[in-house]
């Protein structure tokens, strides 16, 4: 009987259900889309922030004080400590290896360019380089990942080839020497034959002091300086989570003996992609190094990520509120519209509980159907939003499906509760008389 009443209600007057169903579908679609985006936005934005370049700097621990101005190290080559290029693959073996997006080693060599008759700095680095990882695979990385704002006119040097790109300031100073296609001769001293002949393949603009240097493949710099397989500093670009209280405690526990993390705290710190825990893990695989967060980048990123995250959750809550209101309002309307029906039912002896039960069952059925459709519409919407905002579509989260269904049912029920309570006070005679 109950089921038949329900079936009749849907069969007889489907038009009336359309508005509620539409509200449910749209409301739940928006809820799904905003929740999907909010869940994913931290990760997406963190990735976007990597356009700021590296956020970790690795230097030898027992180093002499670098005499570095504007990114160029002016120490003589035989001074200071070096790191081994061969160890770099280990970076992709740490716990958070998938969060290491890229790394670039640097080796600065003071050189003498025969063509200009002057001294300058040759920076050995990778632009695109395949690093062998201990698990047998290769990892492609280099300045293209860690320094995405470097722009080259012409083309980058090929890895391991005798080629170079020249900083734009230097090229402006000696336009005849550093023209594309020219060959320059760079050596450790003025004696000819001690260095390498390099083909100029491009003019690079780094908008840094590196604009005054010559950039060449790391292997070339190693050969000129006589330090094969070595480099001096490493820039690492890692996806991190904004620092919180635990991250700070974990970082301070490294140096301060008074701060001890409990084993659970330690596990939680180690297994969170904080910049301090990633730095710690890099230090473990590259012993004898000093790994430091580039605070300027790391802190700005952390703060903006936290703020935008909070902002987005507030906006998501607002969207959920608006969805709830829309659904509740239409549910309320349907109940009010059917006062006459309620009157007849009550006149025929239906109890308030039965009338309420029928209406609530109807609303819940509608909510589940509307919520299901809304979820898929919302997943599509999130895909589209992700695509247009971040360039890659947001993957649908199936975990949201039951959440959205439950949300729809609860909102629809709450929306019809108030008018149903009023309906309980209807007097059939008054209603049927048409007042």
């Amino acid at each position: 009987m109950f089921a038949r009443l329900l079936g009749e209600s849907f069969a007889r007057n489907p038009r009336r259900k359309v508005l509620t169903a539409a509200a449910l579908v749209i409301g739940m679609a928006v809820a799904t889309a905003t929740l999907t985006i909010a869940l994913e936005v931290g990760d997406r934005l963190a990735r976007e922030f990597r356009s700021l370049g590296a956020n970790l700097l690795v230097t030898p621990e027992s180093d002499t004080l670098p005499v570095e101005i504007g990114g160029v190290d002016y120490r003589p080559v035989d001074e200071g400590a070096y790191l081994n290029e061969a160890d770099l693959g280990k970076l992709k073996t740490i716990f958070w290896r998938h969060n290491i997006l890229g790394f670039t080693p640097f080796l600065d060599v003071p050189v003498y360019i025969s063509e200009t008759g002057g001294a300058t700095t040759l920076i050995g680095t990778w632009y695109e380089h395949e690093v062998p990882v201990p698990d047998g695979t290769e990892f492609a990385t280099g300045a293209s990942v860690t320094h995405p704002w470097w722009k080259v006119q012409g083309r980058w040097f090929r890895d391991r080839a005798d080629e170079c790109v020249v900083g734009v300031s230097l090229a402006e100073k000696y336009p005849a020497v550093f023209a594309l296609g020219n060959t320059i001769h760079a050596g450790q001293n003025e004696a000819a034959g001690s260095g390498r002949s390099l083909l100029v393949t491009g003019i690079v603009s780094t908008s840094d002091a590196d604009d005054n240097a010559v950039l060449a493949p790391l292997a070339v710099a190693q050969a000129i300086s006589g330090h094969p397989g070595k480099f001096r500093q490493l820039s690492v670009s890692a996806l991190t989570k904004p620092a919180d209280a635990l991250a700070e405690r974990g970082e301070r526990a490294q140096t301060d003996k008074n701060i001890q993390l409990t084993p659970t705290e330690y596990d939680r710190w180690f297994c969170s992609p904080y910049i301090s825990s990633i730095a710690f893990q890099i230090r473990t695989v590259l012993p004898g190094t000093d790994v430091h967060a580039i605070r300027r980048v790391a802190e700005t990123e952390g703060r903006i990520l936290t703020r935008v995250g909070t902002l987005l959750w507030i906006v998501t809550l607002a969207a959920l509120g608006a969805a709830a209101l829309a659904v509740a309002a239409t549910s309320a309307t349907t109940v009010l519209e059917r006062r006459a029906e309620i009157g007849v039912m009550k006149a025929l002896g239906a109890t308030n509980a039965l009338v309420g039960g029928i209406f609530l069952a109807e609303q819940v059925l509608l909510a589940i159907a509307g919520g299901a459709v809304g979820f898929f519409v919302g997943a599509g919407l999130a895909r589209f939003l992700g695509e247009s905002v971040f360039g890659t579509p947001a993957a649908p989260r199936l975990i949201l499906f039951p959440v959205v269904l439950a949300l729809a049912a609860i909102i629809a029920m709450i929306g019809s509760l108030v008018p149903l309570r009023r309906a309980a006070h209807f007097r059939p005679a008054v209603i049927l008389r048409g007042e």
Partner: protein, 380 residues
């Protein structure tokens, strides 16, 4: 008569109108809050990005900021020219600016990079420096200096220790006022007042480069940089691309995200108001029947209802904008720590939007034209 009818109708169905008003007010509140937020957020985030440090660098046309070794003569700029130009240009967008002179001095017989600058600007230019000790409050203070973390470790310096800097045969004493943890090359440098370094290096009134931190969108920074370049044609003025590019791209994405959310919420609110209005219209069929049988023309009847709905939208929108401004204020405090002030242009936009939505919701009223008085009054 017209307005009396409108108000009678408004008073007559308070319960139903309550739902509609609630929908309109909350819709208007959410929309105006988000509009305020969207306009304010760019400002706030741009300020956050300033912790990335300077975004414009002025340096001599060629050569490194300052040569340290090697055959080439140092390329420097006269301080008066650069600083004077900076002061002449409108400074509203300039958050901080400082000239720098780098030399390689010796401390305890170890070569160390010494930067002469306006120490009072350091805190603003390098907001992310973690400092142990105190900032130097005055740019004229020649007796105090800041040292980088690595320098302090290597030279075994603590806050308050004296530090003797040597260059050729000259020397300058200073007291370590603070130890800088910058997580970058600054950790290997010593910072002293510009004047002290100029006299130590015997380069009076010369600087190697100047850094400027300009607040504002990428466009503002670009504009400022262009004007600066026009005023200083003999030097290189370049925006730091690492900062400006990332900032522009990120801000664009964040705003796009918020705008799309606002649009979604707008659709929902419209739907909500639409639903209640449709219900209201249905309920009014009986009134219409009565009016028609009393000889009211359709246009007049629909006019009355539209006026009713319009009043509702305007009133709801009005109340809602105020609530929304309060909401945006709270959100600003919650998210950014500073309030987001309401924008006047949001008020008319929200109210107009609400009126449009309610009128759209009253579209089913057109059906009232088909109402046959006899049927309605018979109770069908």
């Amino acid at each position: 008569m017209f307005w009396r009818l409108v108000f009678q109708l408004l008073r007559g169905s308070r319960g139903r109108l309550g739902v509609a008003i609630l929908a309109i007010v909350s819709g208007a509140a959410v929309i105006s809050a988000l509009l305020d937020l969207d306009l304010g957020v760019q400002n706030k985030l741009t300020q956050e990005f300033r912790t990335l440090g300077a975004n414009i660098v002025i340096s001599p046309a060629s050569g490194a900021p300052t040569q340290i070794r090697g055959a080439e003569a140092p390329s420097l700029m006269p301080e008066i020219e650069v600083v004077g130009t900076l002061q002449q240009l409108p400074s509203a967008q300039v958050a901080a600016a400082a000239p720098y002179l780098y030399i390689v001095a010796r401390a305890q017989n170890i070569p160390v990079v010494l930067a002469g600058t306006w120490l009072d600007q350091a805190q603003k230019l390098d907001a992310t420096w973690k400092l142990e000790g105190n900032w130097v409050a005055s740019r004229a203070d020649d007796s105090h200096c800041l040292v980088g973390r690595n320098v302090a470790r290597r030279l075994q310096l603590a806050v308050g220790n004296p530090l003797e800097l040597h260059y050729l045969d000259r020397s300058a004493p200073c007291t370590v006022e603070g130890i800088v943890d910058a997580g970058g090359s600054e950790d290997n440098q010593v910072f002293a007042s510009l004047r002290a370094v100029q006299s130590l290096a015997n380069l009076p009134a010369q600087i190697g480069l100047a850094q400027v931190s300009v607040t504002g969108t990428a466009r503002v920074v670009e504009d400022y940089s262009t004007r600066l370049a026009a005023a200083l044609p003999q030097y290189r003025v370049r925006p730091i691309r690492q900062v400006t590019e990332a900032e522009g791209a990120l801000l664009g994405r964040i705003r796009l995200l918020i705008v799309s959310m606002v649009l979604l919420i707008l659709i929902l609110t419209a739907l909500c108001v639409l639903g209640t209005m449709a219900a209201l219209a249905m309920e009014r069929r009986k009134d219409v029947g009565l009016m028609k049988s009393l000889g009211g023309s359709i246009s007049r009847i629909v006019g009355i209802f539209l006026a009713e709905v319009g009043v509702l939208g305007a009133a709801g929108g009005f109340v809602g904008t105020f609530l929304g401004a309060a909401l945006a204020y709270w959100m600003g405090l919650r998210v950014f720590g500073t309030a987001i002030s309401p924008r006047w242009e949001v008020f008319p936009v929200t109210i107009a939007l609400m009126i449009v939505v309610t009128l759209a919701g009253a579209l089913p009223l057109r059906m009232l034209g088909n109402v046959k008085p006899a049927e309605i009054l018979r109770g069908e």
